[in-house]
């Protein structure tokens, strides 16, 4: 058989529009995609989501077992914690109704604090000899495991619903959100070793800067898990606030500020925090601005803004930019090296925006894991 002189034009009918083979080659895929296009896309997308779900399941299982191992290794337990931990992981929080937003912040704060108090009390029941430092660590590890479990459940639910209904548009929002969800979940999973060993995390840059200044000052507890230190600088009175380290907590800076404002006249508030960087922005870059730099669900920020507005106090902010992963995992070298620059920036800001004889509150916002004062 001669293979060298095959006429491809003739075989595929390129020179003749009536070739039935050529018509089939063109028309069949069109028919296939018109009627089964969405289903094909559903299968392709399903593969990607299945891979992500497998990863999420791994994060969920690992975080649970890491927590149980940590408890067994580091605490004198009264009995086996596995059953209680599994029960904790299933707890949910129902946020207050927001049809009438009046008073919603107080309701949200009450619900969240109730959950925190409940978790704290039940961790204490696991081991009667647990100290405050271990308690905050276990509470954080429990929150991570619980969040990873919830993420897995939600993603799995959305995926299975779309598959069950054979509904491609239903899977689209999940496909679009998945990279962001995976980034968060991966960051949470990788933060576990830092919390277990009591290392500072990226979000701890604010408490780290303020904690270092506080070292030689007299300290007092001003609110739950929140420390105050007073000092003088260039004829001004400074009030430094941070969460009580080295436990893993963010404290209650708004309550602390409320107490200070009710006892002294405050002329400015400076907040130091970590902030999420935008894509393209340099990690560990410092930026200054106005307004309350504080994350979380918004109740603390609301309270700080309320106090500042009522008393007409300006709020200045210094933030250290970082990614989600950098914020909740072990502090990077670049971020740690910026601590002295942030300290200089605080004093510069005080000199530029206040006069001698005035009083300023400086709040180191963030999780103070591994950062004492």
């Amino acid at each position: 058989m001669e293979l060298t002189n095959i006429d491809f034009d003739q075989l595929f009918g390129m020179s003749d529009d009536s070739n039935p083979l050529m018509m089939l080659i063109w028309i069949l895929p069109i028919i296939l995609f018109v009627f089964y296009g969405q289903r094909i896309q559903l299968y392709v997308t399903s593969g990607e989501i299945k891979k992500a779900l497998k990863k999420l399941d791994g994060y969920k299982v690992d975080s649970r077992s890491e927590l149980i191992i940590y408890l067994k290794k580091n605490l004198k337990l009264d009995d086996d914690p596995t059953e209680k931990i599994d029960k904790f992981l299933e707890y949910f929080t129902i946020m207050p109704v927001d049809m009438d937003p009046n008073g919603i912040v107080d309701k949200v704060r009450h619900t969240v604090r109730m959950r925190e108090d409940y978790t704290r009390e039940h961790i204490k029941l696991l081991s009667s000899q647990i100290n405050d430092l271990e308690l905050t660590k276990v509470q954080t590890l429990l929150e991570i495991a619980s969040s990873l479990q919830m993420i897995y459940k939600i993603v799995n639910h959305m995926f299975l619903t779309a598959k069950k209904q054979n509904n491609y548009p239903l899977i689209l929002p999940l496909q679009m959100l998945l990279p962001f969800i995976m980034e968060q979940a991966e960051a949470m999973s990788k933060s576990i070793p830092a919390f277990k060993t009591g290392q500072p995390i990226g979000d701890g840059i604010g408490p780290m800067v303020v904690g270092k200044i506080m070292l030689d000052c007299e300290k007092e507890t001003i609110a739950f898990q929140t420390i105050l230190a007073k000092t003088d600088f260039d004829g001004r009175k400074l009030f430094f606030i941070k969460a009580e380290g080295p436990g893993s907590t963010v404290g209650r800076p708004a309550e602390a500020l409320e107490t200070i404002v009710s006892n002294s006249e405050i002329d400015a508030i400076i907040m130091v925090d970590a902030a999420l960087k935008m894509e393209g922005e340099e990690s560990a870059s410092i930026a200054c601005g106005f307004g309350a730099a504080i994350g979380g669900i918004g109740t603390e920020r609301f309270q700080i803004e309320e106090i500042a507005t009522q008393k007409n106090i300006p709020i200045f902010s210094i933030v250290v930019k970082q990614s989600v992963k950098e914020a909740i995992t072990l502090m990077t070298k670049q971020i740690a090296e910026k601590s002295n620059d942030v300290t200089s920036q605080i004093y510069e800001m005080i000199k530029e925006n206040t006069k001698q004889g005035q009083s300023i509150v400086i709040i180191g916002v963030g999780n103070t894991s591994g950062v004492p004062q």
Binding site: T197, Q199, M208, L215, T329, T332, K333, A336, V371
Partner: protein, 60 residues
């Protein structure tokens, strides 16, 4: 990915002598805590404190 290198994060502790300011970098060990006082400085009679704890990425 086939060609991507696995990244490992190593935790380091930076000790700083409060008297002579000498810095010493070593690997993090359990129990290290920021600002805690350590043993005496190697070059003078001052005490070292933990100045920083951070992670550095290594590609393997």
């Amino acid at each position: 990915m086939i060609f991507s290198k696995k990244k490992i994060i190593i935790a380091y502790t930076i000790e700083k002598c409060s008297k002579c300011g000498m810095l010493k970098k070593r690997e993090f060990i359990d129990g290290d805590c920021l600002f805690s006082e350590l043993s005496k400085c190697n070059s003078c009679d001052g005490t070292s404190i933990i100045e920083k704890i951070f992670g550095e990425e290594l590609e393997s």
